[in-house]
Symmetry: C2
Subunit: 450 residues, 2 copies
């Protein structure tokens, strides 16, 4: 997954190919720089790509997401099926907002399934994974909105949007989670030059939300039916919901015609996981697309993805396609929500897993502390000492209280003579003498639930 | 630890300070770009820093290591003591060598202890950690070489190296693990203009290796004694070894006067973990520093670090120092060694943790497969299906053999009627009927040791 490694591997392979004397490839395809790789994949978001120049003068960029590098990796290594997750940093020249977990350098966590498979089976698995992650993380209630690029395009066509305006109108529809329908409509008509009639027809469709029955209803819709693309998308949504029923996740998944993720590379199903509990996270709380949403308002997207069947082919010299579907989990945003929850709760969050501090009550016992520390470390106990020759007992105990270390093993002249250690429970201040031989087991017993 | 975040935080704070109306700080210190942060910290290695320009025209660089960003983080957040590990990518414009795990973009794993503590206690803990990591990873035999920047500087002084040549002569000494003493001597004399006499005196010292007793002997050495710096370093080495004895790691630690790590920021103890088993890893196998090493030859450094007491102060507006000691683990190099060991052994390395594949023997059972898959997933079993409506049983079994999945849960019309699943052990081809209710426990039982 490393951009520079891949670059170098590619350069080597191409050099080798040139030496060997070439093959019969008609279309010469030399992927020289990372900048070229990223160009033309992100639509209007391209302005957020960080460019950089290396000292050798090659034009380079910092990776914008993990999807495009993944697609390139598949093409360059001729991988036709794979399932993997990947956690790594990406970079965007966006306006950062620390409190909402929006940074310029941030981690993404991606899961993708690549390969030629039967319709909607891997897609359903991706949604099941988003469902399970958001459930496990205990972030409050959530919904997973689902739509399909083909349904959007078909809808634009039957509503009278000119072909060359699909992408830009799609970008405007994408703003429905941040601004009310009236403003979206205005942008379409005033800024993007769409007819009022077309905008109003779009407005009717994008207010629709539902499940499998909505897909069935739209398949009967006189106007929608005129688009073959839309029909194909709607049939797949139906099939998807049948698999989601088997995966027992339909209670959280909503077919939502207003969902229109911005990136150019999606070709089929698209989806977005949003938290619906107000107050869990700061963020936009405007009403969604003009109509009051079925549930509480959306407070922020924490996962998103879709199907991108054409991306790998763009990096393959012969244009061979590898269909892909995947999801990005917004871990920074999730972290900031979890942090805020932790701060709001009375419970103190520990930043260390140390089970026991090895302390001394008198002076000149550093060596004895280090000896006991070694015994504990070698037995797999998480232990620490203060890095002082003669720390005060009080400051050792205070350190434990501050950092939530539950136990203190206290050594003194008497304890050393008796072959015992005084084990102190920080919370209750209870102290018991434990024989040196039994200490490891006693610490394990007392910290096993921690 | 995120450079861009820190930049932004710093910019905000400085802007706020300007608004408030300034303070009495005499020395105005504005750290604007990452490039300035990295400049002047790495000595001759600075040429390996990747520079980059962002679209706004600010001069930026990719981080070269995790130590300098850590030091800046401490200074900017006024943290005076902390202990942390950090795994992240760094970038170097070096000549890559894939087989030896040398890349331009690679992961480092750092552990550092910052704070004003008593001498050598945190330093000894760092060495204990390197010892435990290298032991646990089962990389073959290893040594941890230890030296001290003050001993090197003192040695250079008493051998007659002019003050302004300490750093450049030190860089040459650092090459002793890659080239024989004769070549090192030649570089000192011919390229760096050192007198032959001084070079020969250095040659005598840098051939010395030992433990605490060597430090004691050198403390008695007439010439070495003339340097206060060297004496301070030697006393600390003695103290260090006394703690290492308590930590039970002296069998692997060698006080080696030829160790001279290149980076400018070290101020005290320095160390390097090297694998000593020939053939474990490809790499330099030249004899070390002219004299045959006590053990087998070194085959590559996999960990390194030292004390850097001045680095945090360089980022603090008031120059307040925070003493630090730390270590970097060369995880890419370790990975390439482990990969080569895995390839050389007959044992197949699994790339997936899947415990069971849910398969079907007949057609039209996709829904039944997905239903069983959901049962298994919800019970925490790692399971998968092939993403096909009607996959052939043979191809499902082949997939298990190829990817090392140990069990197959096979559904057929008969099994569904009987309320059972045919559980097949891939290795032995044994098949047993298991009741649906008992399946989860049976899979757990059969894969618990895996």
């Amino acid at each position: 997954m490393c951009v520079l490694q891949i670059d170098e591997e590619v350069a080597k392979l191409l050099a080798l190919k040139a030496q060997i004397g070439g093959d019969n490839v008609k279309h010469q395809f030399v992927l020289k720089t990372a900048k070229e790789t990223l160009t033309g994949k992100y639509g209007e978001d391209s302005k957020l790509i960080y460019d950089l120049k290396d000292q050798g003068g090659e034009l380079l960029s910092l990776r914008y997401d993990l999807t495009v590098p993944f697609a390139r990796y598949l093409a360059m290594n001729k991988i036709t099926n794979i399932k993997r997750y990947h956690i790594a940093k990406v970079y965007r020249r966006d306006n950062p907002a620390m409190t909402r977990g929006r940074y310029r350098e941030f981690y993404q966590c991606d899961f993708d399934i690549a390969g030629q498979y039967d319709a909607m089976i891997p897609d359903a698995e991706c949604l099941k994974i988003v469902h399970d992650i958001l459930s496990e993380l205990d972030l409050g209630d959530f919904r997973i909105k689902v739509n399909d690029r083909r349904i959007l395009d078909g809808m634009f066509a039957v509503c009278g949007v000119p072909d060359d305006k699909f992408r830009t109108i799609c970008s405007t529809v994408d703003k429905l989670d941040k601004m009310p329908w009236e403003d979206v409509r205005k942008e379409m008509v005033t800024e993007k030059g769409l007819s009022e009639e077309a905008a109003d027809q779009i407005g009717e469709y994008v207010s629709l939300q539902g499940g499998m029955e909505l897909a069935e209803r739209l398949l009967q819709d006189q106007k929608m039916c005129r688009s073959k693309q839309a029909c194909a998308g709607l049939s797949d949504i139906k099939l998807l919901f049948s698999y989601l029923q088997l995966f027992q996740v339909t209670d959280k998944v909503v077919f939502d015609l207003s969902l229109a993720r911005g990136l150019d590379y999606y070709t089929g199903i698209i989806y977005e996981g949003v938290l619906t509990q107000a107050g869990v996270a700061p963020g936009s709380t405007e009403a969604q697309n003009g109509t009051p949403a079925e549930e509480s308002v959306s407070v922020g997207s924490v996962a998103g993805g879709g199907r991108y069947d054409g991306l790998v082919g763009m990096f393959d010299p012969k244009g061979r396609k590898v269909p892909c579907v995947g999801v990005s989990i917004g871990i920074e945003r999730i972290f900031s929500i979890l942090e805020q929850k932790a701060e709001a709760s009375a419970e103190k969050v520990r930043t260390t897993e140390v089970q026991v501090m090895v302390a001394s009550a008198q002076k000149n016992l550093l060596e004895e502390r280090l000896r006991l520390l070694t015994e504990l470390w070698n037995a797999g106990i998480k232990a620490e000492v203060m890095y002082k020759k003669n720390p005060k007992l009080l400051s050792q105990l205070q350190h434990c209280e501050e950092s939530g270390i539950p136990l203190v093993a206290i050594l003194g002249e008497q304890e050393l003579k008796d072959g015992v250690v005084k084990l102190r429970v920080v919370a209750s201040r209870e102290e018991v003498d434990v024989s040196r031989a039994a200490l490891v087991d006693e610490i394990r017993r007392r910290t096993s639930q921690a």
